[in-house]
């Protein structure tokens, strides 16, 4: 990609920046100039490499040396090592916590070895603020193919054959949605990228926006061309300032290069993209609430049907897909549906991106083929539980998902298996919990979240989540009553059936799964006034 002898890739994602990556970057440029090797060595800002816990990260290409926890003070030594005959900085290599051995190469690190990075392929490799980097990695080829070599119907058929399912949580087949929107009647149509990543414990959409924003833009242009929309919006949380900045730069550059605007690439197709900043409401991740907020209302969901693909923003047919869904589109158009559907299971194709966090040795962003087991993810990639503690549960799907116990660790991670177990695939949060985590406290935590975020229009959701929270709060304080468990189950049913949108329908999942798999913990809290994990302040007087 470059004629320099070597390139230092410095992660400039939110995680690494919080550890001082900006200073490291500046210092690197500085020292390289001081040493007069700028002809040979270039420094490149990149998006997230995924291994945020070891950040700030720097990778030296082409040898692929992987430096972790880099501080400004380390820069001088790194730069010296880049001179011909220089020695690598051994003390900054990743150290395998199990063996204590240092591992020098990116691809030898267990965290990366088992991953299959396709959506994230270029995150951490290209400069997200430079369209030419994306172009030399094969970027914007898919849009040429979709515009000049395929009909819109063929594009949709390709997406449908790939088996891609929406990666926002519900897993609706993407091609079907596109087809519905294409067939819907309307002069104006819209494409919206749902980047309102609100699940606490998930940051994969943020990382894609920060690390490879052009892949999302290209996917949206392909979608616009396929369904016949001329206007696109990225609905992104205001809490992600860096993602917004990088998307803005990317949109400007794409306009300049002729990939956006009127008659793009000298075709007859017009397409433009604007950014809309979400104002902080979890429920706006639900597509009709998202639309309501864009129209200047309180972000409250409405009845479906009509689905947005028929009647969405300002009543026009509107295609809404998640960030990762769009990022997959250029890959599918370029490499074909067969290539895409090689990965995954019978009914869930492709890869999934997870934010692996919590009580696990290696935290970070991972991408794996759908169908891999939880054990693979947590032990092989995640490196198991740190501190010699015992695994207790893994939570997937955020506030709409559930906590799964050790007995389910060999279950494949796909849309259907997770649903059977009472959880959901969700947008990709995966939080590992160990013996020190109290499952009643976790259920209480999630209900506290949903009760705050309930928009309030469905009474079972508004009052039910509050009631459930109060019962759980009582239990954690040692004021639980013997019939509380039955009451929780009854309320769960009421909230699930009496709510309009996904938020309410799935709000009981954290309670239902913890009751299903960890009922004994509830019983100990209630009957013995004891918290087995030692988290809750349980006393006889309830103080």
């Amino acid at each position: 990609m470059s004629n320099k002898r070597c390139t230092v890739l410095v992660c400039q994602g939110t995680g690494c920046i919080s550890g001082g990556a900006e200073q490291v970057y500046a210092q690197l440029e500085n020292e390289i100039q001081k040493l007069g090797i700028e002809e040979d060595v270039q420094v490149k800002c990149t998006g997230c490499h995924g291994f945020c816990q070891q950040g700030p990260l720097a990778v030296i290409e082409p040898v692929d040396s992987f430096y972790t926890k880099v501080k400004s003070d380390d820069v001088h030594e790194i730069v010296l090592s880049l001179k011909p005959g220089g020695k690598e900085v051994d003390r900054l290599f990743y150290r395998d916590p199990a063996s204590g051995k240092s591992i020098s190469r990116y691809h030898d690190i267990p965290f990366y070895k088992q991953q299959e990075r396709t959506i994230l392929q270029n995150c951490g490799k290209i400069n997200p603020e430079d369209i030419h980097d994306y172009l030399s990695a094969g970027g914007y080829q898919a849009i040429r193919k979709a515009l000049f070599e395929m009909t819109p119907e063929e594009v949709i058929a390709e997406v449908e054959r790939s088996g891609l399912r929406g990666l926002g949580g519900a897993g609706f087949p993407t091609g079907l949605k596109w087809g519905t929107c294409r067939r819907a009647l309307g002069d104006a149509k819209y494409v919206i990228c749902n980047a309102d990543e609100g699940d606490p414990g998930a940051f994969q959409d943020r990382s894609v926006m920060e690390g490879n924003p052009h892949s999302i833009i290209e996917g949206m242009i392909c979608a616009g061309c396929a369904v016949g929309a001329k206007k696109g919006f990225v609905y992104v949380r205001a809490e992600y300032p860096l993602a917004i900045k990088r998307l803005r730069i990317a949109i400007e550059q794409a306009k300049k290069e002729g990939f956006l605007g009127r008659g793009l690439l000298d075709s007859e197709f017009d397409f433009d993209i604007e950014i809309f900043q979400g104002a902080g409401a979890f429920v706006c991740g639900e597509e009709t609430a998202l639309i309501a907020s864009m129209e200047g209302w309180r972000g409250m969901p409405r009845m479906k049907p009509p689905f947005p693909a028929r009647s969405g923003l300002w009543g026009a047919p509107t295609l809404i897909n998640n960030v990762k869904t769009f990022a997959n589109i250029p890959l599918i158009i370029n490499s074909g549906a067969e290539w895409f559907s090689m990965r995954g299971t019978e009914r869930s194709k492709g890869t999934a991106v997870f934010s692996l966090t919590g009580k696990v040795a290696n935290c970070g962003l991972i991408e794996v083929p759908i169908g891999i087991t939880l054990r693979n993810i947590i032990y092989d990639i995640g490196g198991g539980i740190p501190g010699g503690k015992a695994f207790k549960a893994v939570q997937t799907g955020g506030p709409s998902g559930g906590c799964l116990p050790e007995s389910l660790l060999d279950m494949p991670v796909d849309f259907d298996s997770l649903a059977l177990a009472g959880s959901i695939m969700g947008s990709g949060g995966m939080v590992v919990m160990d013996e020190d985590t109290c499952m009643v406290d976790v259920a209480r935590y999630f209900l506290d979240f949903t009760r705050r975020e309930s928009c309030g229009q469905c009474i079972p959701c508004r009052l039910g989540t509050t009631q459930m929270f109060e019962i759980l709060d009582d239990i954690t304080r040692g004021n639980g009553r013997p019939d509380d468990i039955d009451l929780l189950l009854e309320l769960s049913e009421a909230v699930r059936h009496g709510s309009l949108c996904g938020l309410g329908k799935t709000a009981p999942n954290p309670v239902l799964t913890t009751l299903r798999y960890f009922r004994n913990e509830y019983e100990e809290h209630i009957h013995e006034k004891r918290c087995p994990a030692g988290v809750c302040m349980v006393r006889e007087d309830g103080e």
Binding site: T14, D199, G280, C363, L365
Partner: protein, 158 residues
């Protein structure tokens, strides 16, 4: 001054209802909060009742109807942060700066909030002061941020 600034901001918009959230965001970005005086003008400009502007402003977590402190402290209560001890961090911050979650200090130095997720989960637990995120917090480290006088809390909110 506020009135002029508001006019300058509105000059960039057409007055469609769909611009309501972006207008509120821009006003808050410039003034730090949504002053009562601005609400009626915004309502007139967008063509909705003032009550609608309040309905929208009060629905979203982002909007503030009262002035904020110069240092906006946000303790993340995301799942990863929660199970790695965010409640203890919040406790310590409350004790150290002497205000509770949701409050602003009388001298307008601090506003303390909790946020659903900063998105820095691999470094949990996290806190953010204005634009600066700090990860792998402990109660001790959190206390140090506020006790040490060195001012690395980022730029003040304008």
């Amino acid at each position: 001054m506020e009135v002029e600034l508001l006019e300058d901001i509105l000059a960039f918009y057409k007055g469609d209802r769909g611009e309501l959230v972006p207008i509120l965001q821009e006003v808050q970005n410039n003034l730090g909060y949504l002053p009562e005086k601005a609400m009626l003008n915004i309502a007139k400009f967008v063509g909705v009742p003032e009550s609608h502007v309040y309905a929208v402003a009060s629905f979203y977590e982002q909007f503030r109807l009262l002035p904020l402190g110069r240092k906006r402290v946000a303790v993340c209560r995301g799942t990863a942060c929660h199970i790695r001890g965010a409640p203890q961090i919040l406790n310590m911050v409350e004790k150290t700066i002497g205000i509770k979650e949701g409050q602003t200090s009388d001298d307008l130095e601090y506003t303390l909030e909790t946020v659903a997720c900063i998105g820095c989960c691999a470094l949990a637990p996290c806190i953010r002061v204005n634009m600066n995120v700090s990860g792998e917090m402990t109660p001790g480290k959190a206390q140090d941020i506020f006790l040490s006088k060195k001012d690395d809390g980022g730029q003040d909110v304008e």
